[in-house]
Symmetry: C2
Subunit: 151 residues, 2 copies
Amino acid sequence: MSLPSTQLSASLEDYLEAIYILSRSGKAARSKDIAEHLQVARSSVTGALRLLADKRMVHYKPYGYITLTDHGRQLAGRIVGRHNVLDAFFCEVLGIEPDTAQEAACLAEHAIGSQIAGRLRLYLEFLDARKQAGCDVSSAFRDYCRRAEDG
Amino acid sequence: MSLPSTQLSASLEDYLEAIYILSRSGKAARSKDIAEHLQVARSSVTGALRLLADKRMVHYKPYGYITLTDHGRQLAGRIVGRHNVLDAFFCEVLGIEPDTAQEAACLAEHAIGSQIAGRLRLYLEFLDARKQAGCDVSSAFRDYCRRAEDG
DNA sequence: TAAGATAATTAGCTGTCCCTAACTTTGCAA
DNA sequence: TTGCAAAGTTAGGGACAGCTAATTATCTTA
């Protein structure tokens, strides 16, 4: 049984995200660029694009340009948002190294829904507000980590 | 190409986790129990058990008892630990409803590594220590949420 | 202990997601 | 303008992960 047309698998979310990012940072995303970005074979991209087109997420004609539909752009934006808030939380709050944080964010972005993403965003905002008010929780946590981990 | 024998797919991690949980809360896990716990067909369990046996995670003979190897138990414990720390963070810190938190933890447990899990555990510990010291960050965040979300 | 119920496995299928190799299309440059 | 290189697609195949239906094994109980 296939997914409801509005729901994407983690893999298709990755393709959508890649197209979104490539479109932002330059011109139209080509199949080859997507393949490089995701480190998959070009033929895998063709298959994914067909599925995304079925789900009305991209405008796709063989050998043509690839662009996002309004719907696709909206969803891609949400996915990138989830990615970014996770990455920020891992780095800024937990003090995880950028590469590890990035990698985990890539995977976890498919696991959390809008509710958790929203709350996490709010949490970062909240910590920031406290910091402005002179209470830097995150840096206190760094100290706590040093004491706990290094000894 | 198959996964290195020490690495499990998210799906196989779920099976391993189920066996671990069932083994704890009662007697030996039967195939049927695993199927019910994960809401899959019994035949799917048979297939998964074969793969887990290949990877030396479970002791498995057709029609026999299913038990975890030392290695499998160790890994399962880590997975359950990741699940629990995520669930606790979502519930206690972000104030997410238990069902939503549980569901997200189920998915995200396959996304974060031991480093992030460890830090998250430490973070919860840290917040608790602060709370003992009279600074309840989480409850302050609840207030912040109410103001931000309800208005 | 033999039959029926329950549990487990096998066989065969579907769909996803990736790969390589071969082929087609497109675009650029001599 | 033709011919080659780059880009894209198609064909075919493998691993994974699930399903149903049919079969086999085990257990229980009359």
